[in-house]
Symmetry: C2
């Protein structure tokens, strides 16, 4: 069978299976997920063996040690996978929920009832635990899922999916509800991206380059964020100690992720004392600082700070994903908001202030998918928000926005019940 036919069949079968998935009772879905968690543990050794293959291939391909670490599985990581599936199993069934209901003057009863989206295509890179996360979310939300993982994790992903499919088979669920693209050819993705008659949404998880390519080619709606240029604005009314703790955490707790802070904006009235202390902490922890002219002047005047480079336009528009922070001093909250509007990516932006009025203004004017007050940008995450898990983060305005869990994987239908009403 050629690739086009193969991918069309895969998507068609996933679409067919989605009808069974949509009508599964909540209890049955919980059972499937518990079965999958159990099966993962039971089949640890075969999964680890497959993972070994990927690690060996990765080494010989010269993958970086960071990438190899993300790729590697061990007993503990498989147990974590299992427990995260159990976490999803325990969430409330998001399907069949009456989101709203009302009655019309003519007696018609109208309800908005949640339904699954149908078929989800997830395209992702090296981490094999994403496989378990996405499968559990799609089953819980009554969807079919098609997984296209990175070629580096091919054997691991295939082993995990085969364990899951075994559970589906035993529970008499169509196996096409969880599909795995076995072709490692990049062209298989291109084939899938035009099948909008079968696939309802594409969720790419990966770097900006990958996502742009997918958006370019897709005939199916893509839920995505390109990058996370997150800001912390330290207002003139900030508690400086709180602000420092938040900035250090937002930048350095895990610099390589999308909700890490890339730019610090500081009100000029608080800049001197705040930066003297905060930049010291950051530099001590190995963070490189790049600053506007005013920031550089402050740094130059502090004997215990190392000199810094100038932050260019390019810096403010860059997602470093590294221990680098650009810093800019602003004259007002409005200037901070304007900076965020110009350079931000609508992902997550925070204000640190003690004044409620300032916080409210920031929340109102910053048009990002998550806006934080007196908290680290690092909280912008499905688990941290209590959504149970996360299938992606969206900076779009249509459908899901921000961290996206089960609810983002559902749509709704209107159910109208009458007793013979006709329109006059």
């Amino acid at each position: 069978m050629d690739l086009t036919k193969k991918m069309t069949k895969l998507a068609h079968d996933a679409h067919e299976a989605s009808f069974s998935m949509a009508s599964l009772a909540g209890g049955k879905k919980t059972k499937i997920l518990k079965g999958m968690a159990k099966a993962l543990l039971k089949n640890k050794s075969s999964i680890l063996k497959a993972n070994d293959k990927d690690i060996k291939n990765g080494r010989s391909k010269g993958l970086s040690s960071a990438l190899l670490d993300r790729l590697a599985l061990n007993d503990k990581r498989i147990e974590l996978m299992g427990s995260s599936i159990i976490d999803v199993a325990k969430l409330k069934d998001p399907v069949g929920v009456v989101l709203k209901h009302w009655r019309r003057p003519n007696g018609l009863k109208i309800a908005k009832v949640s339904v699954p989206l149908g078929v989800i295509l997830v395209i992702y890179e090296a981490r094999p635990n994403v496989t378990a996360e996405c499968v559990s979310l799609s089953i819980k939300s009554g969807n079919s899922i098609i997984l296209k993982g990175g070629s580096e994790a091919y054997n691991s992903n295939r082993a995990i999916v085969s364990v899951f499919k075994d559970v589906l088979r035993k529970m008499k669920i169509p196996q096409a509800a969880v599909s795995f693209v076995t072709s490692t050819e990049r062209k298989s993705v291109d084939e899938l991206l035009v099948l909008n008659q079968y696939i309802n949404v594409v969720i790419p998880r990966g770097g900006e380059g990958l996502i742009r390519k997918i958006v370019e080619k897709s005939k199916i709606p893509v839920i995505k964020h390109y990058k996370g240029i997150c800001h912390v604005y330290v207002d003139e009314y900030a508690d400086e100690a709180v602000a420092e703790r938040i900035v250090v955490n937002a930048k350095l707790q895990r610099p390589g992720v999308c909700n890490a802070c890339e730019t610090l904006l500081v009100h000029e009235k608080i800049a001197r004392s705040f930066l003297a202390s905060c930049l010291k902490s950051l530099q001590d922890k190995g963070c490189e600082i790049r600053g506007c002219d005013k920031t550089r002047a402050i740094v130059d005047s502090c004997w215990n700070l190392r000199p810094i480079h100038k932050a260019t336009e390019q810096d403010f528009a860059t997602e470093y994903l590294d221990a680098i922070l650009s810093v800019r001093i602003v004259r007002s909250l409005e200037e901070a908001v304007a900076h965020i509007k110009k350079y931000g990516s609508a992902h997550t932006d925070a204000i640190v202030t003690k004044k409620k009025k300032k916080a409210d203004m920031f929340v109102k004017y910053v048009d990002s998918s998550s806006v934080m007050v007196n908290a680290s940008t690092r909280f912008s995450d499905g688990n941290q928000y209590g959504l149970g898990a996360e299938i992606g983060i969206s900076t779009d305005k249509l459908h899901a926005r921000g961290p996206m869990g089960l609810e983002g994987l559902t749509s709704y239908k209107y159910v109208v019940v009458g007793n013979g009403q006709i329109r006059v």
Copy 2:
């Protein structure tokens, strides 16, 4: 200025204006809308004069009398436009609504708060009242709107928009919040459809051909339905009198619209007696019937029914938009659902039955944006659902589905309030 530059400026300005629109207080928006309704009445004569031009142009172009009727304005129609704007003005402000809120164990307070989408591009055909409807919905929902109406209604639309812009100017609202594409060139739409940095959603209102062209070219998400192949399924447990009333209404009350019924499915156990009476009513009212073999046999055996043509595969897949109905006798509810799955357009489908269990099955298995029980498909409409007005109907599963009013023109952001929390 060339067309590309002109359209880019238009979209850019609408985008800039959207920030002011997003932060307008509810009371201000009500005031603007009331001002617009009043201004319409005050400027009746200039609008009617512009409309006259369109009507004359339409006549000389040889537009059908149906189209000319849709295009024509008169005192009463302008008054209706005004009162429908007042209806929208009275609706609750959909922006800034706390959709959900909860507290995390670490004390973070998380809220999902509704926000406008930003900039809406509406592309529509001849009816000038659509202009008023769309403008009022977009203002109420805090969005900017770009209108591209049909060339037939060019003068009428321009006159209406100019009245609206005057109100914006007097109320010190950026006039780019309501933009009107003055170029009648089709190419202007193509230019707009790639400006996804400025425009958040495209809503086409018109025929399937128009919509397909837009989807093909758009880089911006399109909310749409291609067609409405709506079904009424008369179950074996239907009240036959109720069923007949619903079928006649769903087919004939206004055959040219998307929520009119195109196919009648009848359970074989009830078919003979039901069709004998129902088809008589339909034929008496001038409806052409096309039927499956079993239907034709019944028709042939009834002395008072005129002979009918066979309904082909093509018939079942056609949106007649006319007084034509295809009829098929099915052996079970499951067969009816399968037919709807195969030929339906996920718009609106209805069951007529006295058995709750059958109704529940139908509601569960029919994957359409509106599912009706014992009511006419003609109710599938924003006004009929009590949404105040309708900017479109969506058969997609992402973002809005079914009749789409104010809520569909909003997204949300997460607002997270802490007291210094950092991630550990």
